[in-house]
């Protein structure tokens, strides 16, 4: 096939991927991707399962806030998500469930259920009142279980499920005496059920394609909702699922349009970028307090918030061009960040939209302290880590690990030696052929960010030496962060990578080389729509791939090696 632009995806593993593609052919006829013979032969159409994806922490929190209320306490802790192919969203399809997690989900379930059924909140949450608190009111208990069961399981309960939780309520009342105690435990049970904690998709015979399966309406509503809103389906989606409307092209389009223009899209965009930008890494990012006294946990949280606010307002509120995130000077600021940015912030409490000063040498989210600090060492900046992360996060390239058994004896320590800069120190690597290959990929990008120290504070010198900020990307040479921002903006791989990550977030599947033609089409569409992310999300949600049924187990393992974040691998 002809490629309008080179694909920048899966550079390192494409050979293996193509070899495997033949055994797992996904046909592209009539635009629909369906499972190839390998899958049909192995599992048969009647049992072809949907995905089983675990709720992420943000999805869990949003789901509880939406079904109940944002102030309902979630007392348990969350296990760190599994990152597969660079995304936590993909990890939700593959990760297991530890005993720690169930313990913690149980703690959360009990805290939520106790609050929801507490006396002070009954008026808010109870769909009915029992005739007598001391007697079991089966009708009311059934109504409670059905109401919240449908919201939590994202589908109506089966009669067996309903009876099971009503029985729990009856047993609990019998033992504890009060009707609402019964409801409390019925609710707690539903909250630790796999049907709540995991999105277990169901299939049904597809009337349009005899002998084939399709996702049932509830599973479709759930996929849509978590992709476009990062939360459980709302009442309108559940209605569209119940009526079957979601199976029609027009009905689906209506729901997608509604969700894409809903304020909740911001939440989905936020979660996506928080995942893509590896912000979970802040959980164990430490800076030396004597070197960077300004860096605190509060600053780290504000820094992430700043970047996410910038992203959401640029992409969603302003419907801006994705590439503009790397060149815009528009940003958000609060007073504690203003100290590090050395920028006055008139707003006393909270956030204000502002711009980086033209003299600041900052350029879009690249120069936000979130990204600069995350990809630095505890006590110094790192052109290598920064360059590596830019390649992997924004261009979907895999930078190989440093070779084992490198002779570092030529690299003298004395990071803070007078007259030494990172560029000089790393020059030693570039003289070493074993190292040079990768450092040439990472460092020329990273050097242009050297005017920002290990937490992102501006500096013009390191160890007394004026910094040389020249660098290059794909043959283009430039200077400083603004030059880098422009180069990334113009890099053809940048929007393709975003489309790729968005597609994988939507599907929860590992990269599959057979997806490349579809991905290319999607990237073209993204370009044609002015690189607007909400339009990209709409295209994915209404596209042929979105409701594909596939068993992730059948996607050849090792198609692409997992990119998980690793600190401190490079100097």
């Amino acid at each position: 096939m002809t490629r309008k632009h080179p694909s920048f995806l899966r550079k390192t593993c494409i050979g293996l991927g193509l070899a495997l593609a033949g055994t797992l052919a996904w046909t592209q006829q009539d635009g629909a991707r369906v499972a190839g013979p390998a899958q049909a032969a192995e599992s048969g159409p009647a049992t072809a399962p949907g995905n089983v994806r675990r709720l992420t922490e943000s999805q869990y929190r949003a789901t509880i806030a939406d079904i109940f209320a944002p102030d309902v306490p979630i007392a348990g802790r969350f296990e760190r998500g599994l990152r597969v192919d660079g995304l936590l969203a993909v990890g939700t399809t593959y990760g297991g469930m530890s005993a720690f997690s169930i313990e913690q989900y149980d703690i959360s379930a009990r805290s939520i259920a106790a609050e929801v059924t507490s006396e002070k909140r009954r008026a808010q949450f109870m769909p009915c009142q029992p005739k007598d608190e001391a007697a079991f009111d089966k009708a009311c208990a059934t109504r409670f279980v059905e109401t919240y069961g449908q919201r939590l399981f994202r589908r109506p309960l089966t009669s067996a499920e309903r009876d099971r939780y009503v029985t729990v309520a009856a047993t609990a009342q019998q033992k504890l005496g009060k009707f609402h105690d019964g409801l409390e435990f019925a609710l707690a049970g539903m909250l630790v059920s796999p049907h709540f904690l995991m999105r277990i998709e169901r299939t049904e015979p597809d009337p349009a394609r005899p002998g084939q399966q399709r996702l049932d309406a509830w599973s479709k509503a759930t996929r849509l909702s978590y992709f476009l809103s990062d939360t459980a389906p709302d009442a309108e989606l559940l209605r569209a699922a119940a009526s079957g409307e979601i199976h029609t092209e027009a009905g689906l389009a209506r729901q997608v349009d509604r969700l894409v223009s809903s304020p909740k899209l911001e939440k989905a965009v936020r979660s996506f970028f928080s995942d893509m930008l590896l912000f979970d890494g802040f959980n164990d990012l430490f800076k030396d307090p004597s070197i960077y006294p300004a860096y605190t946990v509060a600053v780290a949280n504000d820094a992430q918030e700043q970047t996410l606010r910038t992203i959401v307002s640029h992409l969603v509120a302003d419907r801006g061009d994705y590439r503009g995130l790397f060149t815009t000077r528009k940003t958000w600021m609060n007073r504690s960040l203003g100290i590090i940015y050395r920028q006055p912030v008139p707003t006393r409490n909270g956030w204000e939209q502002t711009e980086y000063a033209p003299s600041s040498q900052r350029s879009g989210i690249l120069t936000d302290i979130s990204l600069l600090a995350l990809h630095s060492h505890p006590g110094r900046s790192s052109p290598t880590l920064r360059g590596k992360s830019l390649r992997e996060v924004f261009l979907c390239e895999k930078v190989p690990d440093p070779p084992a058994n490198v002779n570092f004896s030529v690299v003298q320590d004395a990071v803070n030696r007078p007259g030494s800069t990172a560029r000089m120190r790393l020059a030693e690597h570039n003289d070493n052929p074993a190292c040079a290959g990768c450092h040439k990929i990472t460092d020329p990008m990273g050097f242009t960010l050297e005017s920002f120290d290990g937490i992102g504070t501006f500096r013009s010198k390191e160890n007394g030496v004026t910094l040389d900020l020249t660098g290059s990307l794909m043959g283009a040479s430039f200077t400083g962060a603004t030059g880098l921002g422009k180069a990334l903006h113009d890099h053809p791989g940048l929007p393709v990578c975003l489309a790729d990550k968005m597609l994988r977030t939507a599907s929860g599947r590992k990269a599959n080389p057979a997806e490349e033609p579809y991905l290319e089409k999607l990237a073209e569409q993204f370009a044609a729509n002015g690189y607007r992310v909400p339009d990209l999300m709409r295209a994915i949600a209404t596209g042929p791939a979105f409701f594909t049924i596939s068993n992730p187990a059948l996607v050849p393992a090792g198609t692409k090696t997992a990119i998980t974040r690793k600190k401190g691998d490079n100097s």
Binding site: V52, S98, D181, D284, G454, P552, D569
Partner: protein, 443 residues
């Protein structure tokens, strides 16, 4: 030095030197079946755990010149000198790569812990500690407890390829989990089962009710994941069952008080403090049967430890610090390696400080300490250091240094699993596969 085998040890002579193999358990506190008894007449369970430190060691400061019992204690192992009789030191055992790319700080570690070297950051299968936990850790409140002292939210205990057991990183959170809600003091005297606990049991059986039907609808990989979910639910059920029974009295146990607030980060002085507190809490939890299995990550395999005000980490130093020409090794790296062994002693101290039967908790524990590499500078997976510390309830022999001579690490790990009762005949894949145990170790 000639090879050391069981026979030479039992003969007690190597090159004319007397070898005393420590017999960690005395018959006087065994019952007729050879099981250890506490003063209460109850059997004392055996415990198992791993202790990982990152970035290996400085060989000349760690590997004794001779094998057997009478080795001269090398400088970096000096902190562990008080425990030399309860320690078996294994050097010179390799993770065999078999052509697998050496992913720095991962391949050696996962190769050692799963018997399968992997080129990436996730193992291909579960780790051996989980296999041991499945045998000895089934009927306690926690299947296992994972800890990380350097603030890193990482764990190298895996139930399966994509299923790590997450680590506690904060002493306060650890205390809450072990001794907060749901903890029943075995010595509190009064016991009245909470009716809410019984209700919670019925909740969990409702949750498990449609397991069979659900499983049928899933593909193989998801069935496995769902099976993990139900296994985890099983642990929760077990916790409730334990809460409904009067707990067996535990000698010398007093519920610890909550630790104060500490700074959780990678500054080694803070890490030492947090590690010691966590070790103490864990030892108490082991003593009162909250768990029998633990995994402590003292420092991550690419060690993020650092000294205050330094712009380097232990890991970056391993690559960037020049060898001190006078000493012949990297001085700062050596400092971190030695400090790691000090921490190891803190951990062992915590186990040894708890009286149990006629001995200590350490006598009934097999602690398996290891790193991810030998010489971190070159990410070498040949000669990864391993130590077995503790009496393991008499199930292993200790008190010597054994050189592996390029044998696979899996020999030691297989021996440990067998000692802990895992039914495994051979273990590891490819060149890591072995059915040969380390004869000196097997009691």
């Amino acid at each position: 030095m000639t090879s050391l085998n069981r026979r030479t040890i039992l003969r007690g002579m190597i090159n004319g030197a007397k070898v005393g193999v420590a017999l960690p358990f005395l018959n006087m506190f065994l019952d007729g079946n050879g099981e250890a008894l506490a003063a209460t007449g109850q059997r004392i369970p055996v415990r198992f755990g791993t202790w990982i430190w990152g970035c290996g060691f400085i060989p000349e400061r760690f590997i004794p010149a001779t094998e057997g019992a009478d080795y001269v204690m090398p400088p970096d192992l000096e902190p562990l000198a008080p425990y030399r009789k309860q320690m078996a030191l294994f050097t010179g055992y390799d993770v065999k790569l078999d052509g697998v790319a050496n992913k720095p700080h991962q391949t050696g570690n996962f190769g050692l812990r799963t018997g399968i070297p992997v080129p990436g950051e996730t193992p291909k299968t579960g780790t051996f500690d989980v296999a041991i936990g499945n045998v000895i850790g089934q009927d306690t409140r926690f299947r296992s407890i994972e800890l990380s002292a350097s603030g890193i939210q990482r764990s190298y205990s895996y139930r399966g390829a994509a299923s790590p057991n997450p680590s506690e990183t904060s002493p306060i959170a650890l205390y809450q989990r072990l001794f907060g809600e749901g903890f029943r003091d075995p010595n509190e005297g009064t016991f009245s089962p909470d009716p809410r606990t019984m209700v919670r049991q019925s909740v969990l059986s409702a949750v498990k009710d449609d397991r069979e039907r659900l499983m049928k609808t899933l593909g193989a990989a998801d069935r496995e994941r769902m099976d993990e979910y139900f296994t985890s639910v099983r642990q929760l059920e077990q916790q409730l069952e334990l809460q409904l029974q009067p707990p067996a009295r535990v000698e010398n146990f007093t519920k610890p008080s909550a630790p104060g607030k500490t700074v959780v980060d990678a500054d080694i002085e803070n890490v030492m403090v947090n590690h010691k507190i966590m070790a103490g809490l864990l030892a108490q939890a082991l003593a009162c049967n909250q768990t029998r299995v633990f995994n402590m990550l003292f420092s991550d395999t690419a060690s993020n430890l650092r000294r205050s005000s330094s712009s380097d980490t232990h890991h970056t130093l391993t690559h960037e610090e020049p060898v001190n020409p006078k000493l012949g090794y990297q001085e700062q790296v050596a400092w971190f390696a030695a400090k790691s062994m000090l921490a190891c002693r803190d951990f062992v101290d915590a186990l040894a400080s708890i009286k149990e039967g006629n001995g200590t908790l350490l006598d009934n524990t097999l602690m398996f300490a290891h790193s991810d590499c030998s010489i971190a500078k070159s990410h070498a997976v040949e000669g990864i250091p391993m130590m077995i510390i503790g009496g393991a309830g008499g199930r292993v022999r200790t008190g010597y240094h054994k050189a592996g001579r390029a044998d696979a690490t899996s020999r030691v790990v297989l021996s440990v699993q067998q000692a802990m009762g895992v039914q495994v005949e051979n273990w590891g894949t490819g060149a890591m596969n072995t059915s040969r145990t380390v004869t000196e170790l097997v009691a």
